[in-house]
Symmetry: C2
Subunit: 408 residues, 2 copies
Amino acid sequence: MQGQANTPWDTRLNSSARALKGSAIRELLKITEQPGVISFAGGLPAPACFPAEEIALATERVLAHEATRVLQYGPTEGFPPLREFLAALMATRGIEAPTERILISSGSQQALDMIAKVMIDPGDVVLVEDPTYVGALQAFRPYQPRFVALPMDEHGLQVDTLEAMLADLAAGGIAPKFLYTVPTFQNPTGVTLTRARRAALLELAERYDLPIVEDDPYGELRYSGEPLPPLAALDIARHGQPRHVLYLSTFSKLLAPSLRVGWMVGPDELLHKLALVKQGMDLHTGSLVQAIAFESCRDGLLERHTPRIRAVYHERRDAMLAALAREMPADIRWTTPEGGMFLWLTVPDELNVRALLERAIARQVAFVPGDAFFANGGGANSLRLNFSHPSAERIAEGVARLAAAIER
Amino acid sequence: MQGQANTPWDTRLNSSARALKGSAIRELLKITEQPGVISFAGGLPAPACFPAEEIALATERVLAHEATRVLQYGPTEGFPPLREFLAALMATRGIEAPTERILISSGSQQALDMIAKVMIDPGDVVLVEDPTYVGALQAFRPYQPRFVALPMDEHGLQVDTLEAMLADLAAGGIAPKFLYTVPTFQNPTGVTLTRARRAALLELAERYDLPIVEDDPYGELRYSGEPLPPLAALDIARHGQPRHVLYLSTFSKLLAPSLRVGWMVGPDELLHKLALVKQGMDLHTGSLVQAIAFESCRDGLLERHTPRIRAVYHERRDAMLAALAREMPADIRWTTPEGGMFLWLTVPDELNVRALLERAIARQVAFVPGDAFFANGGGANSLRLNFSHPSAERIAEGVARLAAAIER
């Protein structure tokens, strides 16, 4: 494929496509898919945690009894029985919403694209955490927002800094389009926004009329500490219906990522616009996978299965924390996530993390350099480790290899 | 849900979302989903044509033998065995392409969004057929192109008019971003671009360095006349590789729409950019549905099954043509499609098609008014009829009802 002459397409790419570059890191990490490499790089669920048999049985039932319906085109808003199921599931998370306020997306990733598509004009301010989920940056960037990145600490987003920033922006006549946040077991840092900060954030939303995108793929995966209400639950408790918060979640971490089924709960008019743009994006999310998700879950699979996932990841998180405590030099720090799939390492400034990655790969262990998660640069002394995919044994061995690579 | 107060989201919608309106027609057509109504409105395949049993067996095999792989996250470019299969399938259509030149999309609809996302800056000229597939207009509109719509006749796009238009645009210093065309059994008109016009179009592409999006969902569904080469085959024959033509196709009409699996064949650098934006759009198309499509087709299902679909739709097309000849007044004209799923009616100017739709629905028959398919207005005296979904008997009855509604 090398050396193909320029085509008429290449010279006509639009401004955002011309700026798009492949990621060197992504190429590097392809090497890490070899079996000998212990990868802390991906964000993959453990395959042993897929309820494969239940999914297979559900699929069999769906195709035996409802083939015509689940193979045909379906409504853009989603497969009606699944939306109904999700309305009930949302109530268990404290998010009271009728079926009509559930909108299905092709994974949470598509939800991010949909949101950007209805909200962002070029140059608009979008508030993000620093660091934040890199896929959100990828989803938003083609719409050419101006990212304002807000500092985090071990208690999550620094809400007082956000307040100062909102005041500054307002003084300049700027109303940010929305804040994007992963308040619970954040990707990439693993930290969780405290209860007090959740309340304070909702107060700020009220005061500044600030829309908030709450991305919650991991909330069910808590291994220690006390459950906290989603921002959406606080928002609905105050207003009786969603007002400031658009809530996103997904089956990717509870059933299987390959279904590509996510959903949103939010204000009616916004959902209406989101459904309209979704129609132009993919007509609808596949009815078959939605029916499989529904049929798998309708008899209580999530209640039975989620504790199994928690048990596996809990052990792996503990294995990683123990290995870090055992292996790492004193000047390396890390977060202690109460759930989720990731943990965040901060290393001394003089350590070059990109060079460290090359040394780590030479020792057959991989991670993602932290700078990838910063909207406007920075984070050169940080890295993300995933603990959901490798086994506890491989985690111990991998952390030892990483410590050896760090040794100066 | 009525009467919810404005939320902070509503006041912050971007310029393209503010312009988005729900379709009154779409609302009206929801009524037509009632069982008594004979609908020529949708674009649905016949459920009897879904190879449901083969899909069920394939799914069983895939989940029994490869659960881990097909439930996990997968590569953005697509499920490797499916890409390989499609490269071989493309060769049967005269489109020689290595596996690396196949890019999977979540249905053809997503391909249209992806293309717009890398090609269109606001104000860019995009050439479309007049009328054209309404989903393409929906996919492109959020990127705010300027549509230049080109007339069609019973031989497809008028290539000489395109030539004059390209010359005009070039004189004004404008290079259109691309031409979007459905050359074979077009949606909505059912007409097919002749062999001579295909050659002439490729010559024009050469002369004006014009990128062409060839959307080919129906090409395999020919009931009469001689097969014609896709534009992509002509392009590759000339250059040894794709240069002007990006080819789109889908399993929606051959297996089942609900899989939402489509694919593209095109120039390498363009495909690379498309894959990069797709990552931000949905990470990847679901591996499970891709694996199901592959496993269903690997042993020759399409060769066995496509003739069955052709036989059913052939009978229905003939039933519709016969009923139209029998029932319609002399001043109504229609196209005679050699394949596909649609047929196009032109009525005298004094007949108000929107009012006709209301009368038709009162008589329990539905269609889509033609003006929906025109990028820049027009087509008020036309309407689209679908013949793939209703049975031959229902078609005869529905056309009789429509003729009665037309009677003045």
